[in-house]
C-alpha cells in the first residue's frame, strides 16, 4: 500500500513536471507571438511610428511571409531582412566607410580572427605605425575586404567584449567578496568603496570612461566599464550570499572542528554558489546594455558603434530597420545567453534546493 502511494506520488510529480515544462514552452511561444504582434501593429501605416519602426517581416505583409515559411523572414525590407542581408557584409556600411578592421596591414586585412583580436586589444595599423615600423602602407579603408563592413564582425567583437568584461568582473568581485569572509579587513576597506560607487547610477560612469581612456582603447573603456560594474555587483552578491547561510550551519561546522579556511572551502564556497549564480545572471543582463552604451559613445568597432552611426541617419530609408534590428538582436542575444546560463547553472546547482527555488 505504502509503496503504491509512493509510486503514485512520484508519477504525479512527473506529470506535474511535464505539465510545467509544456506550459513554460507555451508561455514562451505566446510571449514571442505577442512581441511580434505588437511590433507589427506599431509598424502599420496608421501607427504614428510607421516610419520609425519597420515591420519585422518585410513589406509584403507579415502573415503572408509567415505562411510562406521561415525564409520569408529574411526577404524584403523588414528589420529581420535588413539584419540578415547586412550580416556578412553591408553595402550601407561600405558607402559610409564604417568598418571593423583596425589592422590595416596588407598581410592582415584578410584575417577576421586577427581583426577581432585587434579590435579587442585596441591595436591599429595606420600610416603612423607603418612609418614607425618601416612596414608597408596601410590598405585604404575603401578597399577592405567585404567582411570588414558586415554587421557580423562588429557584433562578435561586442559579444566578446561584454563576456570578457563580465567574466573579469565576476572573478574580481567573487575574489574580493569571498576573501572578505576570510579576511575581514578586506571587507572593511572594500565595502565603503563599493557602497559609494554602488549608489551612483552606473550609466553615469560611462562618459567618464570614454573621457579618461578615450575611444581608441576599448579594452579600458568597454571591457573596463563592464568589469567595473560586474565587480561591484558580484562583490555585493557574494557578501550577501555568505551572510544568508544560516548561522547554525557554520556553528555545526565549528563544532565539528572546522577552521576558518576549511569552513570557507566546505561551507561558504558551495553554500553561496546558487545565490551567486543568480547574481551573475542579473549582472550579465545589465552588462549587455552597458557594453553597448559605451560603444554608442564613440568606440569605433562594435554593435553599439553601428547603432551610433544609424541613429544619426534616422531619417534615411534603412535606418529604422537597422536600429530596430540591432536593438532586437541584443535583446534576443541576452535572452539566449541567459537561457544557456540557466542550463549550466541548473546543472552546477542541481544538488541545491535554493538553486531550484531560484527558478533554475
Amino acid at each position: 500500500m505504502t509503496s503504491t502511494d509512493v509510486l503514485d506520488v512520484r508519477a504525479k510529480a512527473q506529470r506535474e513536471k511535464r505539465r510545467r515544462r509544456i506550459a513554460s514552452i507555451v508561455y514562451i511561444a505566446i510571449g514571442i507571438t505577442l512581441f511580434f504582434v505588437a511590433w507589427v501593429l506599431l509598424s502599420l501605416e496608421a501607427s504614428p511610428w510607421h516610419y520609425d519602426i519597420p515591420p519585422p517581416f518585410g513589406a509584403v505583409g507579415p502573415f503572408q511571409d509567415i505562411l510562406q515559411g521561415v525564409w520569408g523572414l529574411f526577404r524584403e525590407e523588414g528589420a529581420i531582412a535588413h539584419f540578415w542581408s547586412n550580416l556578412g557584409t553591408s553595402q550601407d556600411m561600405r558607402i559610409k566607410f564604417v568598418h571593423a578592421c583596425p589592422d590595416l596591414h596588407p598581410a592582415n586585412v584578410n584575417n577576421p580572427f586577427r581583426q577581432v583580436a585587434s579590435s579587442l586589444m585596441g591595436w591599429k595599423y595606420t600610416s603612423d605605425t607603418a612609418a614607425l615600423t618601416g612596414g608597408p602602407l596601410p590598405v585604404p579603408i575603401g578597399q577592405l575586404p567585404d567582411y570588414c563592413y558586415g554587421y557580423g564582425i562588429h557584433l562578435i567583437v561586442t559579444i566578446i567584449r561584454i563576456l570578457l568584461g563580465a567574466a573579469f568582473g565576476t572573478i574580481a568581485g567573487l575574489a574580493i567578496g569571498l576573501s572578505s569572509l576570510v579576511f575581514p579587513k578586506v571587507a572593511q576597506v572594500f565595502t565603503p568603496i563599493a557602497s559609494f560607487f554602488g549608489t551612483a547610477p552606473i550609466f553615469i560612469a560611462a562618459p567618464f570612461f570614454v573621457i579618461w581612456f578615450g575611444v581608441e582603447v576599448p579594452i579600458m573603456t568597454t571591457i573596463g566599464l563592464v568589469t567595473f560594474y560586474t565587480t561591484l555587483l558580484m562583490y555585493f552578491f557574494s557578501r550577501r550570499a555568505a551572510e544568508n547561510i544560516p548561522v547554525g550551519i557554520v556553528e555545526s561546522a565549528l563544532t565539528l572542528g572546522g577552521t576558518p579556511r576549511s569552513i570557507f572551502r566546505w561551507v561558504y564556497l558551495p553554500g553561496t554558489v546558487p545565490e551567486i549564480a543568480g547574481g551573475f545572471r542579473i549582472a550579465l543582463a545589465g552588462a549587455w546594455g552597458l557594453g553597448v552604451l559605451v560603444e554608442v559613445l564613440g568606440i569605433q568597432v562594435g554593435g553599439g558603434h553601428l547603432i551610433d552611426i544609424w541613429r544619426f541617419l534616422i531619417g534615411q530609408l534603412q535606418a529604422p530597420s537597422a536600429l530596430v534590428a540591432l536593438i532586437t538582436f541584443y535583446g534576443v542575444l541576452a535572452v539566449v545567453v541567459d537561457a544557456l546560463l540557466l542550463v549550466v547553472i541548473r546543472y552546477l546547482t542541481r544538488w541545491s534546493e535554493a538553486g531550484r527555488r531560484l527558478g533554475l
Partner: protein, 604 residues
C-alpha cells in the same frame, strides 16, 4: 477703386484660367472658390463704395442747400439793412415835417418789417440746412469707419535644437514676447519650444506629427525624400554654413595652409601641402558626416591623387540641365588654356579613401580634444564646437574661408560652393496647407529675427539671448560676441532682402535649387537614394520655401501699392489707425497681416 476693380477682374480671370487649365477636381474647386471669393470681395467693395458715394452725394446736396439758404439769408439781411437805412433817412425827413415824407416813412417801416420777416425766415432755413449738412457729414464719416481684421490666436507646436547660432536664434521672440504680438502661443512646451537634445530627433518628431515646425539642417532631409521627406519640406531658409574646417591640435607638428603660405607658397601649394599631412591619419568627425562628406571632399580635392583616382563624375547641372561651370568674379565662365568653359566636377571620390574617419559626435570631440595628444585632427560640424576648440588653441589646417579668400575661382572652391547647405524651417506640409496664415507669420518671424540680429543697435541683445540658451542646453561657454562672429563669418544669414536672390537664379547668390540638385545627385550616386529618383520633380515639390517666399513677396508688393494709394487719400481716423497698424506689421516683415489691414482700411 478702378485699380482695385481691375485687379479683382484680373484675379477672377486668373482663377477662371486656372480652373480651365486645372487637371483635377481640387484645382477646379480651388479656382472656383477663388473666383467666388474675388466676386464676393468685388461685390462687397462695390457696395461699400456705393454707400460711401451715396453718403457723399447726400452731404454735397445738403451742403449746397445750406449754401443757398445762407446766400438767401445774406440777401435778406442786406435788404433789411438797406430798408433800415432807408427808414432812418425817411425818419430824418419826417422829423423835418414833410407830409410826403411821413407817408414814405410809413411805407419804409412796412418794408423794413417785411425784410426783417424775410431775414428771420432765411436764417431759420439756413439753420435747417446746416443741420442737414452736419447729419450728412456724420453719415459720410460713419460710412468711412473701418474695423481692424482679426489676427486669430493659435497654437504652433514648434521645436528647436539650440546647439548653434543658426538654430538658437528662435529663442529671441520667446524672450522678447514677439509671438504674443501676433497671437501665437508656442507649444507643446508652453511657453517655449520643445528643445531637442540631438539633431537626429528633429526629423522623426515632425514626421510623427508631434510638432508642426522645427528649425533643422535642410540637406539632412534629402536622404528621406523617397520615404517621408516630402511631408516635411522647408518653408524658409535661414543661412548658409561655410564654417567647415579641419582643425589641428595645438601640440601637433602639422602646419596650417596659412603657415605654409607664410613660408612663400602659393595658396594652392599651401593647401595641397596642408591636406597632404592628413593622408593616412585619423580625422575625428561626427557620425552624420557619413552621408554629408562633400565638405571634406572639397579640401581633399587639393590632393593631386584626388583627380587621378576619380572613377565617376556626378552631374552638377543648372535648372535647365546644363552643366555648371566655373565662373569668374564678373560672372563670366573661367576658360581653360584651350578657351573652353570648365565644368564644375563633383565626383564619387571620397576623402575617406585618403584619411581614416573616427566617428564621434561634436561634444565628444571637444571632450577628447581637451586632453593633449589624444587627437590630432578634427572636423566638428557645429559652429559653437568649432569656436570653442579654436578658443582652446586649435587652428584651422584649412577652411572654406581661406579658400574663398585666396582661391575663389578654383575647382575646389566650386565644389565647396556647390555642396554647402544651411538650416531652415522644416514644417509638416499638412500643417502648412491647413494653416497658411500661421506659416506666413512664422516665416515672417524668422525674417524679423534675422533683421534684428543685423541691427547694430540691438543685435547684442539677440546674441546674448542666443549665447545663454546655447550655454544652458549644451553645457559650453559661448560669449555673446562669439555668436556675432559666427553670424558674420561662419553662418551668414539670408535676411528678407537676400531671399530674392536666393530664389532668382539670374541673380548672383547661393541658390538652394542648384546646390541641392547636386547634393541629391550625389546621394543617388552613393546609393542613399535610388538611381531612378526624379531629382527635378522631387526638388520642385520639396522647395515649399520658394512658394512661400513668392507668396509673401506678392503680399509685400501689393502692400506697397496700397500704402502709396493711401498716401494720396483723405483718410478717416479709423482708416489711419489701420494704416499705422499695417505699417508696423509691414516693418516686421508680416506682409500677410499688413496686407489684410491695408485692405480693410482702404477697401472694406
Amino acid at each position: 477703386m478702378k485699380k482695385f476693380r481691375g485687379a479683382i477682374i484680373l484675379m477672377v480671370a486668373l482663377a477662371l484660367l486656372a480652373s480651365a487649365c486645372g487637371d483635377d477636381g481640387s484645382a477646379e474647386a480651388e479656382a472656383d472658390a477663388a473666383a467666388a471669393q474675388a466676386a464676393a470681395a468685388e461685390a462687397q467693395a462695390a457696395e461699400a463704395q456705393a454707400a460711401a458715394d451715396a453718403a457723399a452725394a447726400q452731404a454735397a446736396e445738403a451742403q449746397a442747400q445750406a449754401d443757398a439758404a445762407a446766400a438767401e439769408a445774406a440777401d435778406a439781411q442786406a435788404a433789411l439793412e438797406a430798408a433800415q437805412a432807408d427808414l432812418e433817412a425817411t425818419k430824418a425827413a419826417a422829423e423835418a415835417g414833410d407830409a410826403e415824407a411821413q407817408a414814405a416813412l410809413e411805407a419804409a417801416e412796412m418794408k423794413a418789417e417785411e425784410a426783417a420777416a424775410m431775414a428771420s425766415d432765411a436764417e431759420m432755413k439756413a439753420e435747417e440746412a446746416s443741420m442737414m449738412a452736419e447729419e450728412a457729414e456724420m453719415a459720410l464719416a460713419e460710412s468711412m469707419m473701418v474695423e481692424a481684421p482679426e489676427i486669430r490666436t493659435a497654437e504652433v507646436r514648434m521645436g528647436i535644437y539650440p546647439c548653434c547660432a543658426d538654430l538658437a536664434y528662435w529663442q529671441i521672440p520667446i524672450e522678447l514676447g514677439w509671438w504674443e504680438e501676433w497671437g501665437i502661443t508656442i507649444t507643446p512646451n508652453q511657453p517655449t519650444y520643445h528643445y531637442f537634445t540631438a539633431s537626429q530627433e528633429i526629423v522623426p518628431w515632425l514626421e510623427r506629427g508631434d510638432g508642426d515646425v522645427a528649425q533643422g539642417w535642410v540637406p539632412g532631409v534629402f536622404g528621406t525624400l523617397e520615404t517621408f521627406g516630402q511631408t516635411i519640406p522647408p518653408i524658409h531658409f535661414a543661412d548658409i554654413y561655410v564654417g567647415y574646417a579641419i582643425l589641428v591640435a595645438p601640440d601637433s607638428e602639422a602646419k596650417t595652409a596659412i603657415e605654409f603660405m607664410d613660408e612663400g607658397m602659393s595658396f594652392t601649394e599651401a593647401a595641397t601641402a596642408a591636406v597632404q599631412q592628413l593622408v593616412g591619419k585619423e580625422v575625428h568627425i561626427p557620425p552624420h558626416s557619413t552621408t554629408q562628406s562633400q565638405y571634406s571632399d572639397a579640401f581633399f580635392a587639393y590632393l593631386p591623387q584626388w583627380w587621378e583616382d576619380v572613377v565617376e563624375d556626378i552631374p552638377a547641372l543648372d535648372g535647365e540641365g546644363n552643366p555648371l561651370v566655373l565662373l569668374g568674379r564678373d560672372g563670366s565662365p573661367v576658360l581653360d588654356d584651350a578657351g573652353n568653359a570648365q565644368p564644375i566636377r563633383i565626383t564619387t571620390n571620397d576623402w575617406r579613401n585618403y584619411s581614416t574617419p573616427v566617428y564621434v559626435d561634436d561634444p565628444t570631440i571637444v571632450q577628447l580634444s581637451a586632453q593633449a595628444g589624444r587627437i590630432e585632427f578634427a572636423m566638428p560640424y557645429g559652429a559653437p564646437t568649432l569656436v570653442q576648440m579654436m578658443r582652446n588653441g586649435w587652428d584651422p589646417l584649412i577652411n572654406f574661408a581661406m579658400m574663398y579668400e585666396h582661391d575663389a575661382l578654383s575647382q575646389q572652391t566650386a565644389i565647396a560652393s556647390s555642396t554647402v547647405g544651411g538650416t531652415g524651417l522644416l514644417a509638416r506640409r499638412e500643417w502648412v496647407e491647413e494653416n497658411k496664415d500661421l506659416a506666413y507669420r512664422v516665416v515672417a518671424m524668422a525674417n524679423r529675427i534675422l533683421a534684428y540680429l543685423e541691427d547694430p543697435a540691438v543685435q547684442e541683445t539677440g546674441w546674448e539671448i542666443e549665447a545663454n540658451i546655447i550655454n544652458e542646453k549644451r553645457g559650453i561657454t559661448m560669449e555673446p560676441e562669439d555668436i556675432g562672429v559666427i553670424w558674420d563669418t561662419i553662418d551668414p544669414s539670408f535676411n528678407w532682402e537676400d531671399q530674392e536672390a536666393l530664389w532668382d537664379l539670374s541673380l548672383p547668390s547661393y541658390h538652394p535649387e542648384t546646390v541641392f540638385r547636386t547634393q541629391i545627385e550625389a546621394l543617388k550616386a552613393r546609393g542613399v537614394l535610388s538611381e531612378t529618383y526624379d531629382t527635378q520633380a522631387g526638388l520642385e515639390e520639396f522647395l515649399l520655401a520658394q512658394e512661400i517666399y513668392y507668396d509673401l513677396k506678392g503680399m509685400q508688393d501689393r502692400s506697397d501699392d496700397l500704402f502709396a494709394r493711401a498716401s494720396g487719400m483723405d483718410l478717416s481716423a479709423s482708416q489711419q489707425a489701420l494704416i499705422d497698424q499695417a505699417q508696423a506689421l509691414y516693418d516686421n516683415y508680416n506682409f500677410y497681416d499688413s496686407l489684410r489691414f491695408l485692405e480693410a482700411a482702404l477697401i472694406g
